[in-house]
């Protein structure tokens, strides 16, 4: 397929790996921010092609992973209500709450629907005017314009039976939290290509400058990732710390202005809890007061739902680049994609699930 196949060229990949090998003179630790990038890296084994000096650690950019267990329990509490049509992206259905997952709720008679786009929920709301239709609005800045549009359109179309359960998170505050940690190991970032397609990259410039850390906005195909790694390693070796854009075919400095405008109309920035990490100040979106009538947390009484995480799980340290999946005694034994204990195993884009799905639990891989 055009714009995919050419970025999976094996020969070019080998050339880029050679170039990285020629460039690197000492050890560097790089973090790819986005879960989609983690998935590609592990799927294609890119990290294992790199010279030993270049270590990749895996970032917090998997929205399904970082949605707190408590929020999942709240979603389930709503989905179990009689009459409710509960809509979600498919990857959220398998994520276990404290008592089963959305598939279980569906099997028990709950009306749970997988949607391709949040606009699909509006069709459902129109078709079932007597029933509340709730959409589980998770995601980073990439998904926020779509979710914002659903609320904007619901209001424009006078749909009063539609609401969002919002658990939106933002990338730059998470990067700042990782860099602020006294245990931080990350020396350069591969920035999230599709988040930046929406938001642009100007927010990343003060981070690169303040923390003296190179950032390369990077795409998702093997060639993109290897080129992003090469650009980041070059900056490290040359002692530079700027924002560079590997993904120029999809990302501009200002991002998508229309999409950003709509985000600003519907959402406002708030503190958010990240699963495995805890509360990061000003790291998420919530609905603006004028859209409170579409806020499922206000419509349904779910504030008394609380949850506790298994103590053994080290996903918070994996998400911040302090540890790798193999450092966890439960990885691949007690904790698998079928029986996940925490954030990084619950979604295919989580580092632990990616390692498991591509067979890395079978052999001890050192890095």
């Amino acid at each position: 397929m055009k714009y995919l196949d050419e970025y999976r060229d094996q020969r070019l990949a080998a050339t880029l790996v050679d170039e990285i090998r020629r460039t690197v003179t000492r050890p560097w630790t790089l973090m790819e921010v986005c879960g989609g990038q983690t998935h590609s890296i592990v799927k294609y084994g890119l990290d294992e092609l790199l010279p030993v000096q270049v270590e990749l650690v895996h970032g917090p950019g998997c929205p399904v992973c970082v949605t707190p267990l408590e929020m999942i329990d709240r979603a389930h509490a709503i989905a179990r209500r009689p009459g409710v049509i509960f809509c979600s992206f498919g990857d959220m259905l398998r994520v276990p709450g404290s008592h089963g997952d959305l598939y279980q709720i569906k099997a028990d008679g709950g009306d749970v629907r997988i949607v391709y786009s949040p606009l699909d929920c509006l069709k459902l709301a129109r078709a079932h005017p007597q029933r509340p239709v709730v959409f589980f609005a998770i995601g980073f800045e990439t998904t926020a314009p779509a979710n914002a549009m659903s609320v904007w359109q619901a209001r424009a179309q006078g749909l009063s039976n539609f609401s969002l359960l919002v658990s939106h998170v933002l990338v730059p505050p998470a990067i700042a939290a990782i860099l602020e940690s006294p245990r931080n190991r990350v020396q350069a970032f591969l920035g999230p290509g599709h988040v930046c397609a929406v938001m642009g990259w100007s927010e990343y410039e003060p981070l690169a400058e303040r923390y003296r850390v190179p950032m390369v906005i990077t795409g998702f195909e093997p060639i993109d990732l290897l080129e992003g790694i090469l650009m980041a390693v070059r900056q490290c070796e040359q002692g530079r710390a700027t924002v560079e854009n590997q993904y120029a075919r999809a990302v501009t400095r200002e991002g998508n202005v229309e999409a950003r405008k709509m985000i600003g109309r519907v959402f406002e920035v708030c503190d958010r809890a990240w699963r495995g990490i805890g509360v990061i100040p000003l790291s998420g979106y919530r609905l603006r007061p004028e859209f409170h009538a579409y806020d499922a947390e206000r419509i349904f009484d779910i504030q008394n739902v609380h949850a506790t995480e298994p103590e053994i799980c080290i996903s918070g340290q994996v998400l911040q680049g302090h540890k790798k999946p193999h450092d966890c005694p439960a990885f691949g034994t007690q904790c698998t994609p079928q029986t996940p204990l925490g954030a990084t195993m619950v979604s295919a884009e989580g580092a632990c699930a990616a390692y498991y799905n591509y067979g890395r639990h079978l052999a001890q891989v050192s890095r």
């Binding site: 397929m1 714009y3 995919l4 050679d18 986005c34 929205p63 786009s117 990302v251 229309e258 709509m262």
Partner: protein, 91 residues
């Protein structure tokens, strides 16, 4: 989750309220919302995420990136050829 897939706009749909298009993803056709890319037209390649076109694929940039990488590949070939030659051989 944040994955966006490149596809080609093959039809602009006449939908009330929201601007929509039919997009070809290598033979799979889906609708996508064009509200955030009002300038996108027939034949354009767009990146689609959860049913929304979020950015146009810049064909020049795509070609340039690929060309740069190709040149690097050729450079590597040249270097490899040089290594094969015997430096002591008198031409």
């Amino acid at each position: 989750m944040c994955l966006a897939i490149p596809g080609k706009i093959v039809e602009l749909l006449d939908t009330p309220g929201v601007k929509m298009a039919k997009v070809d993803f290598g033979g799979v056709f889906r609708e996508a919302c064009l509200e955030y890319l009002p300038e996108a037209g027939l034949g354009d390649y767009v990146m689609v995420h959860v049913g929304f076109a979020i950015t146009k694929v810049d064909e020049e940039e795509a070609a340039r990136t690929y060309q740069t990488l190709r040149e690097m590949d050729q450079l590597a070939d040249l270097e490899a050829d040089e290594l094969l030659e015997d430096p002591h051989e008198v031409p």
